[in-house]
Symmetry: C2
């Protein structure tokens, strides 16, 4: 070790995924929140009680953990189980366990972190290098295949796991291991070292956050170096893939939009925000904000999903948003949240929190099955042919199929869901001076340490998103009255706030309640009834279609929810008919259209759809689709307007 | 050699790509046709004068030919240039040269066939095995990676090249080499041998046709064995690809539709027809016809293009036909022609010739640049962002980009275009007893040997597809009057035939003119004016859109053909306005729609398009698009109907 770890104890307010190195706004820390029963508490519980164990089980089963033991025992060589990046899954699981321990104090999670850390630490080389796929007997040498090797990618995840541990527990063996690994990276890839980057961004994020957590500016510098190096063609092109695949075509500072592999693009972007914030690089921050604007406008699904292409798991071009082949990788949803959260903390703009909500409810919450033991990898918005269930003990060799699978050949999504859910409460609110902002709505108690040392305790009661009322009580007041900001989502036209018996209409954006005191109650009423949502006419793939949303939740129709004679490929939605809320779904009026004559796919006459009798069918939450294999649509064609002639 | 080649001379009537082993219908042979100036003659000339040489140049340059020399000289080992399947490109070029020699007698093409054959033959192993990538010093062993190795695929193309040589020239060294290679395949993979298939079908086609050409039923048997073995999961799954990728999920005999990698699916299907015909296997033929019906109805583009996905170069699901991400590989177009031609010969159904015409004009003719030295690989129906020109001395590393490229990393398409154009005249007509059927229309003289030994000479004069009149004169009569059948394309409502001064309306399908005699003239008049074509409402990706066609030619609009203020993403077509023919294109009335408010991609109000002033713009032939990098659309949104309210 070249640097001694500074004397860090667990700072209650720093127990969160992102702690900017500059600026006054911070997210809430895990120990500051106690959720009560509700949408997210259920997801967090399932994650804690099933998913973490499930991931561990699969990693043992597939030998991804044994890989560490083999390095430790010097028995590498021969067939090594798992892809070259399987170490990263172990680190993401450790990160999830660390957050889980930080969130609940669960001693089981703590024990597992220690046990896994011991196995990981034993595999670290003398000089700090740590990877079970390269550099040992019978293995390819280190850092020879930066395009595909994923070595720095894995190290980045190791560093993130250590950050989680450091912020929820304090220095330990994992932090030491990460410290040494980060030092090895800085020595090898520093300004005087190899002038290179990793094919898959991630090390930048790990270094930036570990630099913050350990107070090591060298790590931030190295993260900055990696961010700046990228985009100049340093990576050799992979067969059949463009340099944009790993964002090596244009420097982050000059790019106009996200492109290439979505997860890579978003991890890199998140790191760029960290670097920009910590170094006061306004140009870089502006560049990322510009990319967010353009890409969210033109390259993002109604679900918040990103990545239109299966081919390279990548962004499509502007307006290329096919519902059926939407890749919308779960990991890209997680990465999008990482970007928006950093941008929110840096700028305070409500749009970032809006997109996070959309992505939470419709991508992150969509991935895990109710029991937390199967996951969506891709999240399409249309399923033409029902999938086939994957048995509980089997992997899905591919990312698709329209069913959740226990595990995947490339299994990045389950652990990404796990670490996001374990730390989800951190995104609930933010604190800036004596201003408290509620960003997401869930029942629970927020016990927040303000910058002046005082504490405010808020009790939030809501059944959101099922109902729209959010009651906020100031249970314990601060010494000085605080300003309470509430996010009114962009979709919430007609929202209302009640304070002291006075109701006022509020517009989407921020609603600020000045000088809130102990004992006060504020109600936010959001219109969560079903509504139609119309896509931009430039999204060719859903032209003439409309979607149904309910609060932050995108709805969908499945074949299992309509009469058997109704074909999801041959129905139209009657937009003038009222939508009726129905639990967590809505009753929507549709009409069948007649089956076109066979064998005339392209014809000289405009097909006469002749919609039949109206029928009400149920649209349910997209995040709960495919409880069994189904066909499904989010966007539904609109009934043709009646012509004058 | 285990079998002596039978004494075959060049049979004039057999100089054609497909000569069924049973049935009475045959395609015309290359020596039976002399084209005059016209659409296809120009393409054939460019192919002869530029493309063949261009392909040879690239293969020398990249070392794909030297690979054969290295095997011959025992200097293999180390880095071998080219993909594992590069030998197949050499064979496809030899096949193209052989057809070219057969078509025109060009001694230059003949010399090249001999020169290339000498280099190929020198690389053949003692036992008949011939592959420059496996089985020699420093190379992987033979047949260990049937999933990806492409060894039998390469051999299949060698056999096809030999078939072309045998039918246009007669036995020679190439035929000997192929004979020995085919024997080696039969020994290794016969009923008593390795129970396996190749990841990429092709050997089946080569064996079936070589069996016919050499009168070797063993080869047909081996082809049948390969066809029957497939679909039972003999191939190990490739990472991230389903078994359907190489059609190993369902036997050909039971499949309902084409799926997986489009070229693989179609090569396999073509071979299945050969096997079915030669063995009288009606069940197998019925299965292929059923697959054709379903797949052409639901998985085929208006251009005839097949393959909706870049990811696995594969078919999509039913109705999954995105215009922007249409893969429509040129090779899949070629393979589709191979299937339909075989089905036409087997059944005589006009629909197969209809699809061939559509594919010829809109896929095969679209690929080569005017000068025959650059090609499209993928043939999308919408280009959102103009590509970037690929320099004349550079490869396109990918299959996409919206521009024709001189060569590709995987460069299967140029030689597939070359062999198809060199043999194109074979698809012009068919002969069955004393019935002559004109299938495609081009100016020239057809001098046809009938089954009874007599000859009929037809002179066809037309500027089709630019104009719709096809004048057929019987220049030299047969002894007995022949029946002349003319194909009236499926799109040609309102066609007319004139014979002896009498004009009659004719319906799409066959029009038979009985007892045609020498000196007679028959005119077919096809309505080739521009027309609108409407897609099936189940093709989600082009909902609310319409295309413009002109005769067999699909039109498209490019940004270079519209005023600068008109955005291809923001215009609608006025379907009630008349279409006006304009040379090889049409003038079409469109209106701009207003740009939606920024940053509201998904909104609660239906976007108000408010179409602006009508303007006429030119739609040109899709096959001639991208003379420079452009944006482009085949399907254009239709102006909204005016509501009553």
């Amino acid at each position: 070790m070249t640097t001694a770890a500074p004397p860090l104890g667990p700072d209650r307010r720093a127990a969160a995924p992102v702690v900017p190195g500059a600026g006054t706004r911070r997210g809430v820390a895990l120990p500051e929140v106690a959720l009560r029963a509700g949408f997210w508490q259920r997801l967090q519980d399932v994650n804690a009680n099933a998913t973490l164990d499930h991931c561990l089980h699969w990693m043992e089963r597939l030998g991804w953990l044994t890989n560490f033991d083999r390095v430790a025992h010097g028995t590498t060589g021969g067939e090594r189980p798992g892809w070259q990046f399987s170490d990263s899954e172990v680190y993401k699981l450790i990160e999830a366990l660390a957050w889980e321990h930080g969130r609940t104090g669960d001693p089981g999670a703590d024990r597992l972190v220690r046990a896994l850390t011991a196995r990981v630490a034993a595999a670290q080389d003398e000089d700090g290098y740590l990877n079970t796929c390269y550099g040992h007997a019978g293995q390819a040498p280190r850092y020879r295949d930066l395009e595909s090797g994923h070595e720095l990618y894995c190290t980045g995840h190791l560093l993130q796991a250590a950050v989680a541990r450091l912020r929820t527990h304090g220095p330990d063996l994992l932090v030491e291991v990460a410290h040494r690994a980060a030092d090895e990276v800085c020595r090898t890839f520093g300004a005087e070292g190899l002038d290179a980057v990793c094919g898959h961004p991630q090390i930048e994020l790990g270094l930036a956050e570990l630099g913050r957590a350990l107070g090591e500016p060298r790590y931030t510098d190295q993260a900055r170096l990696f961010v700046e190096r990228r985009g100049h063609g340093r990576l050799r092109p992979l067969p059949l893939l463009a340099p944009s695949y790993f964002q090596d075509d244009v420097p982050v500072r000059s790019a106009e939009y996200w492109r290439g592999h979505a997860v890579r693009a978003l991890y890199l972007t998140a790191a760029a925000v960290d670097v920009a914030v910590d170094t006061g690089d306004h140009e870089l921050l502006d560049a990322v904000e510009r990319q967010w604007d353009r890409s969210v406008e033109r390259r993002t699904y109604i679900t918040g999903g990103m990545g239109s292409r299966h081919q390279d798991e990548g962004f499509g071009e502007d307006w290329e948003l096919p519902p059926d082949r939407a890749y919308c990788e779960t990991c890209a949803g997680v990465a999008s949240v990482m970007v928006s959260w950093r941008l929110y903390l840096a700028t305070g703009d409500v749009k970032y929190a809006d997109l996070m909500e959309r992505t939470f409810y419709n991508v992150v919450a969509t991935s895990p099955r109710e029991d937390g033991r199967a996951f969506f990898y891709a999240n399409p918005l249309q399923q033409r042919v029902a999938g086939t269930d994957v048995p509980a003990d089997a992997e899905n060799p591919r990312a698709e199929g329209g069913v959740r699978a226990p595990w995947f050949d490339v299994s990045c999504c389950p652990t990404n869901v796990a670490r996001t859910l374990a730390s989800w409460t951190a995104y609930l609110a933010s604190v800036d001076g004596t201003e408290v902002t509620l960003l997401q709505y869930a029942s629970g108690v927020l016990s927040l340490d303000l910058a002046d040392g005082s504490r405010v305790v808020l009790d939030v009661e809501t059944s959101y998103p099922h109902a729209g009322t959010v009651a906020v009580r100031v249970v314990e007041g601060p010494d000085v009255p605080v300003d309470l900001r509430l996010r009114v989502p962009a979709w919430a036209s007609g929202a209302m706030v009640r304070r002291g018996g006075v109701a006022s209409a509020v517009e989407p954006g921020w609603t600020t309640l000045d000088g809130v005191r102990a004992g006060e109650r504020v109600d936010l009423v959001l219109p969560v009834g079903p509504r139609l949502t119309w896509p931009d006419p430039r999204i060719d793939a859903v032209r003439g279609c409309v979607a149904v949303e309910q609060g932050p939740v995108v709805l969908c129709v499945q074949d299992t929810d309509v009469p058997e004679w109704l074909d999801l490929d041959l129905l139209v939605l009657e937009p003038a008919a009222p939508l009726v809320g129905d639990g967590d779904g809505a009753l929507v009026t549709v009409r069948p259209v007649r089956t076109p004559e066979r064998g005339r796919t392209y014809r000289s006459a405009r097909p006469d759809l002749e919609p039949g009798e109206a029928v009400r069918v149920r649209f349910g939450p997209y995040h709960a689709w495919a409880k069994e294999p189904t066909t499904m649509r989010v966007f539904v064609p609109v009934a043709p307007a009646r012509d004058t002639d």
